[in-house]
């Protein structure tokens, strides 16, 4: 058996990755930020995150572009109900096998309008996203185009699917659904 697949083609520095994102997104880019953290005794930057916010249309093309750099390792999806839009955050990282201090965390955040709450599924590109997409569907009501299995992950099987626990509008849990306890 081979030792490990050669996914890491060449390690890029954060600036190159950011330029690459800017290039791919063009007009769709809303916001981009690089965060660095100094930890340890000789204060060195070994921990970097890039935060990108962009429009929904460029979602798949950006993921595909990043996948040509390295396998886009997927951590988790998070989301929030921001009034008229639901923001979907996809947290991933690049170069997670590339050696000391080379990993770059990337957060793709996409605002999705509530009147058309759908986005493409990443399932065929990154199989590991299945659980997260199912979770986002049950918690926030986002429809993923191409997601086959739409069973509940966390909520009990007799859950009323009209209620989306993370929503803050009328589809969210009403006070009688909440167990106050104290």
């Amino acid at each position: 058996m081979t030792c490990r697949p050669e996914y890491v083609k060449e390690c890029k520095c954060p600036d190159e990755v950011m330029n690459c994102i800017r290039e791919t997104l063009g007009e769709s880019l809303l916001d981009i930020e690089l965060r660095e953290r100094w930890d340890g005794c000789p204060r060195r930057v070994l921990y970097r995150d890039i935060w990108v916010r962009f429009e929904r249309g460029a979602y798949l093309s950006l993921v595909d572009r990043l996948r040509t750099i390295d396998f886009l390792h997927f951590h988790v999806m998070s989301g929030n109900d921001d009034g008229d839009v639901v923001t979907l955050n996809v947290h991933c990282s690049l170069f997670r096998e590339a050696g000391e201090g080379h990993r770059i965390g990337i957060t793709l955040s996409v605002p999705i309008p509530k009147n058309d709450l759908s986005i493409a599924s990443l399932g065929s590109r990154i199989p590991g996203t299945e659980f997260s997409e199912r979770e986002m569907r049950e918690m926030l009501g986002i429809h993923f185009e191409g997601l086959v299995n739409t069973n509940l992950v966390f909520l009990p099987e007799d859950w009323d699917e009209e209620i989306k626990p993370w929503r803050r509008d009328e589809t969210g849990p009403s006070p009688e659904n909440i167990r106050e306890l104290s």
């Binding site: 058996m1 081979t2 030792c3 490990r4 697949p5 996914y7 965060r35 953290r37 100094w38 930890d39 340890g40 005794c41 000789p42 060195r44 070994l46 921990y47 970097r48 995150d49 935060w51 396998f71 390792h73 997927f74 951590h75 988790v76 998070s78 989301g79 929030n80 955050n89 947290h91 990282s93 170069f95 997670r96 096998e97 590339a98 050696g99 000391e100 201090g101 080379h102 990993r103 965390g105 957060t107 990154i126 199989p127 590991g128 996203t129 299945e130 659980f131 993370w166």
Partner: protein, 361 residues
């Protein structure tokens, strides 16, 4: 739940996400808050965090190794492992006052200092494990039956480990050199020079099976001992919190605005917390937690492929799941169109029977 609590209150909720890797969740959470509020943590606090994280890794890995032995009916090794584990529990108790859920971390630092007395206890523990852990290692890794039960069982190829986003020891067992302590050093790990533990460094080849995952975990215990020694030797003097007065911390968190991401290497893989703070609000706006099992569970179906039911409990255990509700499975055999429910007890019995069969053979 967390939407109606302030960040300091949420720490204690985060701690109770999991009773085994409780401190990992705290550190991931406070790092996310610190990231959102741009707070710098004193170096001594970073070292103490790393210290407790490593202690936690030792107790979690020994617990897992014991439970894995129990799963295939090697009860004496299970009891030996649990006996060894009590030592690190004693040290955690001496250091923090609690056996589980230590309550040590807080936003901007830690709540308990490492006293010279506690440091001596840690050193004594390191010596104890260097002396005693070898026995446990021998009785399991050298045992032909144990090896037969774990070799080539539940194989996850490196390619699948990458595409299904496996984490921590599950990924390292498949030969990937992934370890956030190495590729994204946080806290004091940048100074400690952590190298990912992969089976090819010990046995020369990668199978990606349960045995490899076992090997990775027990070797990480030994690695953690070295790290602990470095931490205790190299810990710098200084304050342990960024701001000792709680109302001041809360006030600055109220003024903060932004999203923070904290990711650390918990015993089972990387633990991700994302937090959003809004200016002028006491409470968290939202908070997302991703415990490592959540990602690792996606790769179960691959490991189950072409395996015996008797091996299922072992495979389930091999990613060290943090869930306790895996009580029954649905077995379906499409060729003869039959399906039956196998309960956990029957499954365990089958698993143990196979060991007896191997012993007889």
């Amino acid at each position: 739940m967390a939407r109606e609590r302030n960040p300091i209150q949420v720490i204690y909720l985060a701690e109770r996400i999991c009773g085994i890797c409780s401190f990992s969740h705290i550190v991931a959470f406070v790092r996310a808050v610190e990231d959102a509020a741009k707070i710098e943590v004193p170096i001594r606090a970073q070292y103490i965090r790393s210290l407790v994280l490593e202690l936690e890794r030792i107790h979690s890995h020994i617990l897992w190794a014991g439970v894995a032995c129990y799963t295939f009916g090697y009860d004496s090794a299970f009891n030996l492992g649990m006996l060894l584990r009590e030592k690190v529990m004693d040290v955690l108790e001496a250091l923090t006052g609690n056996r589980v859920n230590y309550g040590v971390g807080t936003v901007g630092g830690v709540r308990r200092d490492l006293t010279p007395k506690a440091a001596a206890v840690v050193r004594e523990m390191i010596a104890f494990y260097r002396r005693e852990f070898e026995t446990f290692l021998d009785v399991v890794t050298e045992d032909p039956i144990a090896k037969a039960r774990m070799r080539n069982v539940g194989v996850l190829s490196p390619e699948d480990a990458v595409t299904y986003c496996a984490l921590g020891p599950t990924a390292r067992g498949s030969g990937l050199r992934v370890d956030l302590r190495h590729t994204s050093p946080y806290e004091a790990y940048g100074d400690l020079g952590v190298k990912p533990v992969v089976p090819q460094d010990y046995t020369g080849e990668v199978y990606g099976d349960v045995y490899d995952r076992f090997l990775v975990r027990v070797m990480e215990v030994i690695q953690s001992l070295d790290l602990l020694e470095k931490i205790v030797d190299g810990i710098p003097e200084g304050p342990i919190t960024w701001e000792p007065k709680l109302p001041k911390v809360l006030a600055s968190l109220k003024a903060a605005d932004g999203t923070g991401w904290g990711i650390i290497e918990a015993p089972r893989g990387d633990d991700t917390h994302i937090v959003k703070l809004t200016k002028g609000e006491d409470n968290l706006t939202w908070w997302k937690v991703r415990a490592p099992t959540y990602s690792n569970a996606v790769s179960w179906p691959l490991m189950f492929m072409n395996q015996e039911i008797a091996d299922a409990p072992l495979i389930i255990n091999s990613i060290d799941p943090c869930i306790s509700c895996m009580e029954r499975i649905l077995v379906s055999d499409e060729k003869i169109g039959r399906s039956e429910i196998v309960t956990k007890a029957q499954m365990m019995e089958k698993c143990r029977e196979k060991t007896r069969r191997l012993m007889g053979a």
